[in-house]
């Protein structure tokens, strides 16, 4: 007979407010096998845990049910407490009286009855619990960082500096990401490339970092400590070893009219190109979609001029598979395009640009060498209107969330503009100014007070072109909604920060969760911000939510520290919730008949074939065997097995059956 203790928690008023906790304790005391049942104000508190530990010793308990909050919250806490008092932690279960009962029901008899039922279910489960020991698995001490922006670079450097191997995968030809496109950064106005480029070089030259540019993650198998990752190394059509980066091919390429991604379409680049002068690696890539040779087989100029014969038109994509212990996602964001705004002309006005385009106009390395010129006719704009929240906080047509960085970069833009066009006037239409952060609000005040940006609190309802000017019509809500009309030379939309294209596909490849906007989901919004729900996969930067540079760097370092901590052990301890194929006495050996239909049902290829042999080595029977290192414990095979030969530790047939029988 079991000796089970039931511990009902009030959770202050959270449970006791609607559930009669003393009554639950009293009702559950009568369940056969329960030898001790008490209620207490806060079971998770130190005194609460002590109460459990002492009761275990005093009443010689062999099983514990804590009736409190969700097991997703405190199961580890109480299992640890139970273990400390000598009970196998897997003989401690939680009944969810808070999230599933007290918080969702009214205070009445039925709610208390339900609470008692929930405890009864778990008591039966505990009776059929078996002591389990955590599984040890080895750890491959190589990290994969996906995305070579500032988030990925920071993460990779931190992990590499901790002495571990890192593979840094970037989909474009160079690392650097969005930060390399910025002119200056808030709130210090230091040059973005000046602070970023040394990091890029450091990452490229670090002995522990293997850089894979123009590459994308194709497939991820395995689990924490033991991932198998396949990366597609797209063909650059240039032999990176032979190429010296002299750039002759780039200058000689006859097809120079391709919109330049790095300059946000404000300039052109050739078909064989290096994204920007400081690119790492500084070797060209052929854009096969736009290359004349790949379109019709003619041209071949780059091959002819290359002094080292490094052009490889026949180079193919390579699939590289590697063993990885941890993965950090740092895939960044994209900006909403200006053609998403009907009232601002669906992108048809050339002088309505987005924030990143303004960065390129202001950048010394940009298409105008840092001189502010409007795209339509190259004139210096004397009036520029900045519209914050373009698409952000717009439930009707955009995204409901705040893009977080726009208030700050818009203030920065007005300053950069004023510093370059002294007689110019910047207007900013805004909803609220969100400038929380060290030196942030001071920065915005400087834009307003010293650089004389005119801030108008209100939305812009329409932009249209008239006589070479952009008529910006809006309202000033601090002036009783008075209509405002500004004749501007250029308009800059601080468009919403969005998740990268196909981020959902990538999340599915990695088996991580994502929110409805395509941002990757953290394991816990407050307490596990850089982890995902999939063990061994971490997040850094704007792939999780809109982030500015300081936050991105902090998160990158945090993810790096998580990986370093994971790699500090040679073995990992895993939950022993795995499937097991039973073994029986001869002549049956196992109830498994060896049909192996479970093999295709397993999502993890964890089911192997095992031959049972007699002493002379003759195969008597071939049965299924679950590899506990690969099994993740979903139990799909268990439900599928006709002979009930497979069972799942922690959620066994007997346990579920017993739980059901209480109802």
């Amino acid at each position: 007979m079991s000796r089970i203790g039931v511990f009902t928690c009030h959770c202050g008023e959270n449970i006791a407010g609607t559930v009669d906790c003393p009554k639950v304790a009293e009702l559950t005391r009568q369940i056969p096998g329960v030898v001790h049942s008490v209620d207490y104000k806060y079971m998770c508190s130190d005194p609460g845990q002590t109460l459990i530990k002492e009761a275990i010793k005093e009443h010689k308990l062999d099983g514990v049910v804590v009736a409190a909050c969700s097991p997703r919250m405190h199961e580890p806490t109480f299992r640890k407490a139970a273990a400390e008092a000598g009970v196998n932690p897997y003989l401690c279960e939680m009944a969810n009286l808070r999230e599933h009962c007290s918080w969702v029901h009214e205070k009445n008899e039925a709610t208390t009855q339900k609470a008692a039922d929930l405890v009864r279910i778990m008591v039966e489960k505990v009776k059929h619990d078996t002591p389990l020991t955590p599984i040890k698995v080895p750890v491959t001490k190589t990290a994969l960082v996906v995305g070579g922006g500032i988030a990925g670079i920071q993460t990779a450097l931190d992990i590499a500096n901790a002495g571990h191997q890192v593979v840094l995968v970037e989909k474009s030809p160079s690392i650097g990401g969005h930060m390399s496109q910025l002119s200056e950064t808030f709130p210090t106005l230091d040059c973005s490339q000046c602070i970023l480029t040394p990091r890029m070089v450091e990452a490229a030259q670090h002995p522990n970092i293997k850089l894979m540019t123009y590459s994308e993650v194709e497939k991820v198998d395995g689990f924490i400590g033991n991932f198998k990752v396949t990366v597609r190394k797209k063909a650059k059509k240039v032999d990176e070893k032979a190429c010296t980066g002299c750039g002759l091919c780039v200058t000689k390429c006859p097809n120079k009219k391709i919109p330049d991604e790095f300059n946000e379409g404000l300039a052109f680049r050739p078909a064989i190109y290096v994204p920007f002068p400081q690119a790492v690696p500084n070797k060209p890539t052929i854009d096969t979609a736009n290359c004349t040779y790949f379109k019709n087989g003619k041209c071949g100029v780059c091959s002819k001029v290359c002094p080292t014969g490094a052009i490889r038109y026949d180079q193919e994509d390579e699939l590289i598979t590697m063993d990885i212990g941890a993965i950090v996602m740092a895939t960044g964001f994209k900006l909403m395009q200006t053609d998403k705004f009907p009232e601002y002309g669906y992108g048809k006005y050339k002088d309505v640009i987005d924030g990143m385009q303004f960065e390129r106009l202001a950048s010394a390395s940009g298409p105008t060498a840092g001189v502010i010129k409007r795209p339509s006719d190259g004139k210096e704009p004397e009036t520029v209107v900045f519209i914050a929240c373009s698409g952000s906080r717009d439930r009707a047509k955009g995204v409901p969330y705040c893009s977080k960085i726009c208030c700050m970069y818009t203030a920065k833009h007005t300053m950069l503009y004023k510093h370059k066009v002294h007689h110019g006037q910047a207007y900013v239409f805004y909803m609220d100014i969100r400038s929380a952060g060290k030196d942030y609000d001071e920065f915005v005040r400087r834009a307003i007070e010293e650089d004389e940006a005119k801030y108008i609190r209100g939305r812009v309802s329409r932009i249209y072109e008239e006589d070479g000017k952009l008529i910006v019509k809006g309202a000033d809500t601090l002036m009783n909604g008075e209509p405002v009309e500004i004749k501007a030379d250029m308009v800059v939309l601080a468009t919403a920060v969005q998740s990268q294209d196909r981020s959902e596909d990538l999340a599915q490849t990695l088996h991580i969760s994502y929110d409805k906007y395509g941002f990757f989901a953290e394991a816990h919004p407050k307490l596990r911000p850089v982890e995902t729900n999939t063990a061994g996969i971490f997040l850094a930067g704007a792939c999780q939510a809109p982030r500015d540079i300081p936050e991105t760097v902090a998160q990158g370092s945090a993810a790096g520290a998580k990986v370093a901590a994971l790699f500090s052990q040679d073995e990992l301890t895993r939950e022993p919730i795995v499937a097991v194929v039973n073994r029986q006495a001869p002549p049956l050996f196992s109830t498994c008949t060896g049909c192996f239909l479970c093999q295709t049902a397993c999502p993890y290829q964890a089911i192997e074939q095992e031959e049972i042999k007699d002493r002379s080595g003759r195969v008597i029977k071939t049965v299924a065997k679950v590899n506990p290192g690969l099994c993740q414990g979903c139990g799909t095979c268990v439900a599928f097995c006709r002979t009930k030969a497979i069972d799942l530790a922690g959620f066994s047939n007997e346990q579920l059956f017993a739980e059901l029988m209480t109802l």
């Binding site: 109830t591 008949t593 060896g594 049909c595 239909l597 071939t622 599928f640 009930k644 047939n653 007997e654």
Partner: protein
């Protein structure tokens, strides 16, 4: 019949097989399974319209398994389908069993899963008119009436397990029915246990049933239990486009999935 005997003798003499599993005359007009290991025993073989039992069922029996390489008389397509399904489920190695199919003017010898599949493609398989009529009648019934129909049928069930034992696909050494930790299905033949038993049997055969109807013929009290597995098989075929005993290489419908499987009832 003579060509079958001729073929069997040849194979035995050549040492290609150790035994022929076929039919012999039983009491009165019935036919019973017959294992022929010598020329003398071969002479007892019969092949006629009365040979209907699916002999594949016997292939999984311990006594037969250990005879060595066999030739089995496949008088009906369901025997070949059984062989395919058993091969797919790793119970029979491809090529380990020969099938002798009585055919127009002789006997066809098939040795591989591929040959079975090719032969099956030539012979149409249809439910008997009687079965089809009852199936249609049941499907047309209001649900409650259908419930009453089956409960009335099951009330005669005494859990003799003849349906299970006659099924070529019920080869498990220990059946779920015999599992008592936990006791999934109550042992006594009362209403709950009977309903659950027949549901379990049908679910376990969904995507695996070869539609031989042996179970229905075996039932001593005449419950049309075969319609349950027929229906499950139809459901699988209709929804996933593949059924039991069609191939030795295609993965089982219920242990695989397609991300775009279409249903209408999940909220």
């Amino acid at each position: 019949m003579e060509s079958l005997k001729q073929k069997a003798k040849e194979l035995l003499e050549a040492g290609e097989i150790k035994a022929v599993l076929g039919y012999a005359r039983g009491t009165s007009d019935t036919r019973r399974p017959h294992v022929a290991m010598s020329a003398l025993e071969v002479d007892k073989l019969v092949a006629d319209q009365a040979c209907t039992t699916n002999l594949a069922n016997l292939l999984m029996k311990h006594e037969i398994k250990h005879l060595g390489k066999l030739a089995v008389v496949a008088s009906r397509p369901s025997t070949l389908r059984s062989l395919l399904q058993l091969t797919a489920e790793h119970q029979v190695a491809d090529g380990a069993i020969l099938a002798l199919v009585p055919a127009e003017g002789g006997v066809k010898q098939l040795g591989t899963a591929q040959a079975f599949e090719e032969h099956l493609a030539l012979v149409p398989q249809k439910k008997t008119e009687k079965d089809q009529a009852l199936l249609d009648r049941l499907k047309a019934m209001p649900r409650a009436e259908r419930f009453a129909f089956w409960q009335k049928e099951f009330s005669r069930c005494m859990k003799c397990y003849a349906c299970r034992n006659s099924c070529p696909m019920c080869y498990c050494e220990r059946c779920t029915m015999d599992c008592n930790r936990p006791q999934w299905v109550p042992v006594p033949s009362h209403a709950v246990g009977n309903q659950e038993y027949h549901l379990v049997r049908a679910m376990h055969l969904a995507g695996r049933c070869v539609e031989c109807g042996e179970c229905g013929r075996a039932c001593p009290v005449g419950i049309p239990v075969h319609l349950l597995t027929f229906f499950a098989e139809d459901s699988v075929r209709a929804q996933f486009g593949q059924g039991g005993g069609a191939s030795a290489t295609i993965d089982n419908a219920l242990s695989t999935f397609r991300p775009d499987d279409k249903e209408t009832f999940i909220r």
